[in-house]
């Protein structure tokens, strides 16, 4: 869709790991940039990068087709999840100046999983891919673990917790969703995760420079007080070992 291809580059930034994913877990059936296939085929999982320009018929048609032909739709990256920087678009760009209206894919179709971030990180994409595979093909223990891992990313795609997941993200989610709710405990994870350094920690709380914020949603999703699963983190060692084993050369 309307993205910068950074999300796709982030997949490739798994380097040898991408080859492992393709060798063992994934048949790569469609990709405008990398695969020589013209039309959207039937897919188990579609990773969608970019928001949808509703002034562009082809984009609208393709996002609809993607939903109809895929069992699981994953919004890959902030533009697909919540609009991100395309939320600032207002048209006037050559050679299609009338392309001015962009929406997150979830504004038009049901989305199953969010992978937020601008760009999403190679490790996050890897973890989701391995867990998605284990959820479908693993043994019972692996299914349970992978299911627990994916649960918050599936919830985010269904607007839970608000304010993120509702097709619109902002650094001010930290204010509305964490500080206003009496939940911030001054860890600083939000500041570390901001790709444009819009967040500084002032007296232990995030201070957001809203002029800098590109609306990627990384800060809120990285925050341990936005959503947090004890089921998952209490098993962090075994989950990371499982992923390492799945990716071992």
């Amino acid at each position: 869709m309307s993205g910068c291809t950074g999300c796709e580059v982030a997949i490739a930034d798994n380097y040898a790991g991408l080859l492992t994913l393709l060798d063992r877990y994934v048949d790569w059936v469609y990709d405008l940039t990398l695969a020589d296939v013209r039309h959207i085929p039937e897919m188990d999982v579609a990773l969608v990068e970019g928001s949808v320009c509703i002034n562009d018929h082809l984009s609208v048609e393709e996002i609809r087709e993607t939903r109809e032909r895929s069992k699981i739709v994953v919004a890959l990256g902030a533009c697909a999840c919540t609009g991100n920087i395309t939320r600032f678009a207002r048209g006037g760009q050559q050679n299609q100046p009338q392309h001015e209206s962009f929406v997150a894919i979830g504004d038009l179709i049901d989305v199953d999983v969010f992978i937020p971030g601008c760009a999403p990180t190679p490790q996050m994409i890897r973890n989701v891919c391995v867990c998605a595979y284990l959820l479908l093909k693993g043994n019972d223990d692996q299914k349970a673990l992978a299911g627990a891992y994916l649960k918050p990313l599936m919830a985010a795609a269904k607007c839970d917790p608000a304010p993120t997941g509702c097709g619109h993200a902002c650094g001010c989610d930290l204010i509305v969703g964490v500080i206003n709710q009496g939940l911030c405990m001054a860890c600083g994870a939000c500041a570390a995760s901001c790709p444009v350094r819009a967040i500084t920690m002032e007296l232990g709380k995030p201070n957001i420079d809203r002029e800098l914020c590109i609306k990627c949603g990384a800060c809120f999703n990285q925050c341990p007080r936005s959503w947090y699963s004890f089921d998952v983190t209490n098993q962090y060692e075994s989950i990371m070992e499982t992923i390492d084993a799945a990716m071992a050369p």
């Binding site: 009496g182 939940l183 001054a186 860890c187 600083g188 994870a189 232990g204 925050c223 990371m240």
Partner: protein
């Protein structure tokens, strides 16, 4: 492996103190965090650590920083009882500081943020695999810096710049000045100044750290140490073999693990209750519960 609902998973628990007098002198208790990180740094297990030091511009104001030498680690000794957002540097440590093996000290909630960040590195590209050692501390609650000013200067009638040590223990908040005065405030005064986010915290002893440590459970000058993960066991065994710490079985010291369990149970039970109260905070409407 012990699995405890309140104390988390751990392979061993001991009373310990550093054998390095220099470290012990400036530390709050047994000098475990500083001693372990200094050892890990010397051995190349980590090549730097995110710790908290006092901001040179204001008395007792903590700020996170990246220590890359044992000397720099020594700046970090002691407890400040106020917020130091150490995770704010977790990505930067691997960028402008160039660390490939990052050590970090943090509160239980920071350990939670760290592990969430390793499992879900949404904005933490290339960070998850570089976390080499996470040392967690015990934490009952924490205070914004302004609350410390309020407590020390207003309630304690003491200038913050004259304070040499603060401590919470025996049901009181203790303030020690450089001229030898000791001010004590009952904890019922301090409670309202706590950071609100601490009231939903369900971890007392850094259940997700590699090694966690705190003063509760052991006599003055000693620390209680939980060794938890594979990484934690590995570095702890090496540090013990190198003679960095003196230890005693936790069963042989007073007040021992029972007190740790008691405080952990109290904290977590109280905060579970506060989560329940939050759920019906309004009329037919509640506040958000972050735990899923």
């Amino acid at each position: 492996m012990v699995q405890d609902n309140f104390l988390g998973n751990y392979t061993s628990c001991v009373a310990a103190r550093s054998t390095n007098r220099g470290i012990l002198a400036g530390s709050q208790d047994g000098g475990i965090a500083t001693g372990l990180l200094a050892f890990a740094l010397e051995q190349g297990i980590i090549d730097g650590a995110i710790v908290s030091m006092v901001d040179p511009s204001e008395p007792w104001k903590p700020m996170p920083f990246v220590a890359t030498s044992p000397e720099e680690l020594y700046f970090a000794r002691g407890t400040r009882y106020s917020l130091s957002p150490n995770l704010a540097l977790i990505k930067e440590a691997t960028r402008s500081y160039g660390l490939d093996k990052v050590g970090i000290v943090g509160t239980p909630c920071q350990m939670q943020g760290l592990r969430k960040g390793q499992l879900y590195p949404i904005g933490l590209r290339d960070v998850p695999d570089k976390i080499a050692l996470a040392v967690g501390i015990f934490c009952m609650e924490n205070f914004p810096y302004q609350s410390i000013i309020q407590l020390v200067e207003d309630h304690g009638n003491t200038k913050l710049e004259n304070v040499v040590k603060m401590d919470i223990g025996k049901g009181k908040f203790w303030i020690y000045t450089e001229r030898g005065a000791v001010v004590q405030l009952p904890l019922k005064i301090t409670h309202k100044y706590e950071q609100p986010g601490c009231h939903v915290c369900l971890d007392y002893v850094s259940n997700l750290a590699d090694v966690s440590t705190g003063s509760v459970g052991t006599p003055d000058g000693w620390s209680t140490v939980f060794v938890r993960s594979k990484k934690g066991n590995d570095v702890w065994a090496k540090a013990m073999a190198a003679g960095c710490f003196e230890t005693k079985p936790i069963e042989e010291v007073k007040p021992g693990l029972d007190l740790v369990t008691k405080l952990a149970t109290e904290k977590i039970t109280k905060n579970r209750k506060s989560l329940e109260e939050r759920a019906k905070f309004g009329i037919g409407k509640g506040l958000r519960n972050p735990y899923i």
